[in-house]
């Protein structure tokens, strides 16, 4: 990670992913917009991966200062809240969505 990453390769991935995102999301019906939002919310919790990498990097260079350690722990904690909360709340919502129940009246 010391030598700069290849900017254009990353930009290509970025742009293509945006197109995929628009394509996939535009198929989601309005009924599911709240779960969609909380699910995408959970997905951006992937920032937790970044937080873990950065904490490991922090400790890789010897014992870090207390302030930075606290910042790192906070980053990991916030990322985890985002991931765990996001998926759990989406699951809770989606299990409520039912078609007309078998006992048809």
């Amino acid at each position: 990670m010391n030598h700069g990453p290849d900017l254009f390769q990353l930009l290509t991935v970025f742009i293509l992913a945006i197109f995929v995102g628009f394509e996939v999301i535009s198929k989601v019906p309005t009924t599911l917009h709240t779960p969609l939002m909380s699910a995408t919310n959970a997905i951006h919790g992937v920032v937790l991966v970044g937080a873990i990498v950065i904490v490991a990097q922090l400790f890789g260079g010897g014992t870090p200062s207390t302030a930075l350690t606290v910042l790192g722990i906070c980053a990991v904690a916030l990322g985890t809240i985002n991931v765990v909360g996001g998926f759990a709340v989406t699951e809770r919502m989606l299990q409520m969505f039912k078609k007309r129940e078998p006992a048809k009246k």
């Binding site: 010391n2 999301i25 599911l32 959970a42 991966v49 930075l68 910042l71 980053a75 985002n82």
Partner: protein, 466 residues
Amino acid sequence: MTFDLQSLLLDAAELAAIVLFILGLRFLSSPATARLGNRLAAVGMLIALVAVLYSTHALGWWAILAGIAIGAAIGFFSALKVKMTAMPQMVALFNGAGGGAAGLISSVEFFVSVHPYGWTISVSLVLSAIIGCLSAAGSIIAFLKLQELMTGRPITYKGQQVVNGIVALGIVVLGVMLIATQGVDPAWVFLAMLAAALLLGVFFVLPIGGADMPVVISLLNSFTGVAVAITGFELNSNLLIISGSLVGASGTLLTILMGKAMNRPLTNVLFGAFGSGGGMETSTSSGGQQNVRATSVEDVAVMLAYAQQVVVVPGYGMAVAQAQHSVRELADQLEKRGVAVKYAIHPVAGRMPGHMNVLLAEANVPYNQLYDMDDINPEFPRTDVALVIGANDVTNPAARNVASSPIYGMPILDVDKAQNVVVLKRSMRSGFAGIENPLYELPNCSMLFGDAKASVSALTAAVKAV
């Protein structure tokens, strides 16, 4: 180049996670497969996390584990406890957490990296710090407003735009300084930039009122997505870039949809401070000037019981009164008598996209009874009773025919075209936007005053007795 099994495994795991995320979102396109979709995405996340944990060689393991333990406990507990009516503020908080994490990652990176660190990192670090902080602070204000820990009304003052402009300009100047020197600047420049970004996040949400929250929440969601994608540039991670862009695209799309549903350009929502033109909130809602017909539970019950088709129009008022379960009981009673019951959902009803659908789903209303605006509007002329529960502005015919109305042009539910309209309302106070609703004066409209939940329960009992 030596064969590196470990980095190969890590790449493979990240690829698997990306595929699972996209498939997961794909499965969200139908209520029947949505649950599977969510689980696929969660599995993808787990794979990515296990792989990255393995790759750290246990460096800083206790700090990482401590963070995960704290975060998992908070996230899981709040996700289990939250009421469905409070979902918008919960999503806002989770969203803020993600933004905050992105901001913190960039901060740590700024302090530990060897400067100068190249253009890509230097630009992405500054951008992800700014957007992350903006999103985190904005989400917290959105949470406070939705949780009613502060007023849901727009908070405006003279020269607000100018102040916001100055803060934004400050962020740009500090950011450019940091980028130009590739982070060699003293720490205070970076800290000042963070502070300014947090401040702008607060300032930016303050003037936006409760009814505009669906737009703001979507937009903040998109912000965090973008912040995460940019963090991916910083850490050279395809996984972060792709996941972040997916979310950014999703949030942007929803923001556009919400804006369309209100027929207002985004700039107007964000900078217009709807319905707050100089103390207007007190002047128009004084009541008394409207000529309305109040009705009784018994009359409405008879009307409903002998109807062929009833369309329920839920709004935020139903959420506030927690009336969704009572509504479902009333619908059950009516269906027993052979009345067709449908639900008309306006895209911006509630405080986040799809809010009403979730509440009704919670009350076991089958999702095939929920209709979008475009599908239900042609039905109203064939409808005997439109039952409006806690919705106001989305039913206001002024949007159709009064060019001077602030909501003119906004697509509405055509409840006025139904044979009868019954509006359940707490009092004659006007809706959030502070606009009179001429619907209430129409000859086919009557008002049933009182708490929505109590009224609906009384209606259910009365229908039973008919």
